[in-house]
Amino acid sequence: MAHAAHRSGEGPSLKFSALSVFFQGLRGNRDWPAQWRSPAPKSAYDAIIVGAGGHGLATAYYMAKEHGMRNIAVLDKGWLGGGNTGRNTTIVRSNYLWEESARIYEHAMRLWQDLSHELNYNVMYSPRGVMMLAHNHHDVQVFKRHVHANRLAGIDNEWLTAEEAKAFCPLLNIGRDIRYPVIGAALQRRGGTARHDAVAWGYARGADRYGVDIIENCEVVGIRRDAGGAVAGVETTRGFIATRRIGVVAAGHTSVVMAMAGVRMPLESYPLQALVSEPVKPMLNCVVMSNTVHAYMSQSDKGELVIGAGTDAYTSYSQTGGLHITLQTLDAICELFPAVRRMRMLRNWGGIVDVTPDRSPIIGKTPTPGLFVNCGWGTGGFKATPGSGHVFAHTVATGEPHPIAAPFTLDRFRTGRLIDEAAAAAVAH
């Protein structure tokens, strides 16, 4: 059976190794097999994940791998990894303020460290250091508080003076005469970047090898419930699919999907923009973030400068954003890195991010039996991808939240037990 060969690691899904790369190279790279199947939807699954981004694919992967669920599907209205997974600025870090946040982001960080090996897929995790710049007295106080909180939690984060920041990142302008002078910085050395597309592809390939059906171009247009109110299946553009468990991992479109089951969410969706420059020789050795001026930048291995800008002021599903938002970011970038002033920007784009009132995610059960949700990662979900998928897989598979995910309930907005990274992280996170 083609399927069996597929899973045994022979035939269609060749493992990546130095040897396979060498031999495929000799043959002009023409004979690489497809990395995952493209199956038609079955009439029923044990569980369905809505949204084939990094978080959704990771969820399916861990459900199959750690919870033995093989009869599951991941549905996406477009192509896998085509939403925020393909649109973010690829930054990975775990230096959040509150214990609950630190725990989940650190959980992700530990998974990042071994992810390429785990997936047999090079996700290009590069712990090159994430440096967050302080521009005023308030920034200094907030960042030092973060540094202390992180170190108490056993997470590396250190305070640098402006001169030390310059020594770590020579391109940085620490002149005192700029609009937002650099007073100091918080540095997480284990932070860095990972290749966003490879994360989605690696999880897709991994999930597929366990028999998970990844079904693209299959938009969920309704959620059917039984007489008792529990989920009974999803209506899609490719027909009805029965299931008793649905995990919604739809990022910016979560409110839309949840409304199909009559569940209102504490979410607002905003366009968040990013852009890349023309590729140049290696010039920037780390990730630099500035929350105050709302700009962050790193250099991809291809040589492009990857720049993150801010969100628009208003909710929107347009996947674009106002040019003035980008220009404000570029003004700041040009001051902080005068060397990039004459570079040309190649592309800019927007993704729709689902923002919660406390800027912390929602991972767990909903009032509708069988309906689970993993959302609210806002402007900073990429870094959490492996951890988010890992804990949400537990939630969907067992019906109860993973201990790390337990504080991130939907119910916290009723009880008032918010995890307020909004005040803690200012805007960018």
Binding site: S255, M265, S269, Y314, S318, P357, T415
Partner: protein
């Protein structure tokens, strides 16, 4: 950048003159002490966040300074109607152009 029509100034102005105020017609419970936690959470945090027509508040902060409401399509970002604060949400069919 959006071009927004202020119903008080009766003029189209660039978005930078305005501040976004979130979903419109979210009424504060008249007597907060008597509402349930669930209802209070709905008022404070839960939002429609629709893909499509959205009734929302804007404030012409660098102009007349006043609040008004607008109906905007959140996919195209096109404004369908603007109306004064306190006025009911216009019927979507009426505002089709």
């Amino acid at each position: 950048m959006l071009l927004i029509h202020c119903p008080y100034c009766d003029a189209a102005r660039p978005e930078l003159e305005f501040r976004y105020g979130g979903e419109a017609h979210v009424a504060r419970p008249a007597d907060p002490a008597t509402v349930s936690d669930e209802a209070w959470a709905q008022y404070l945090y839960f939002r429609a966040n629709p893909r499509g027509l959205h009734a929302e508040r804007w404030r012409h902060i660098h102009g007349c300074g006043r609040f008004f409401n607008a109906l905007r399509d959140t996919v195209s970002d096109r404004f369908v109607a603007v109306y004064e604060a306190g006025a009911p949400r216009p019927d979507a069919a009426e505002t089709k152009r």
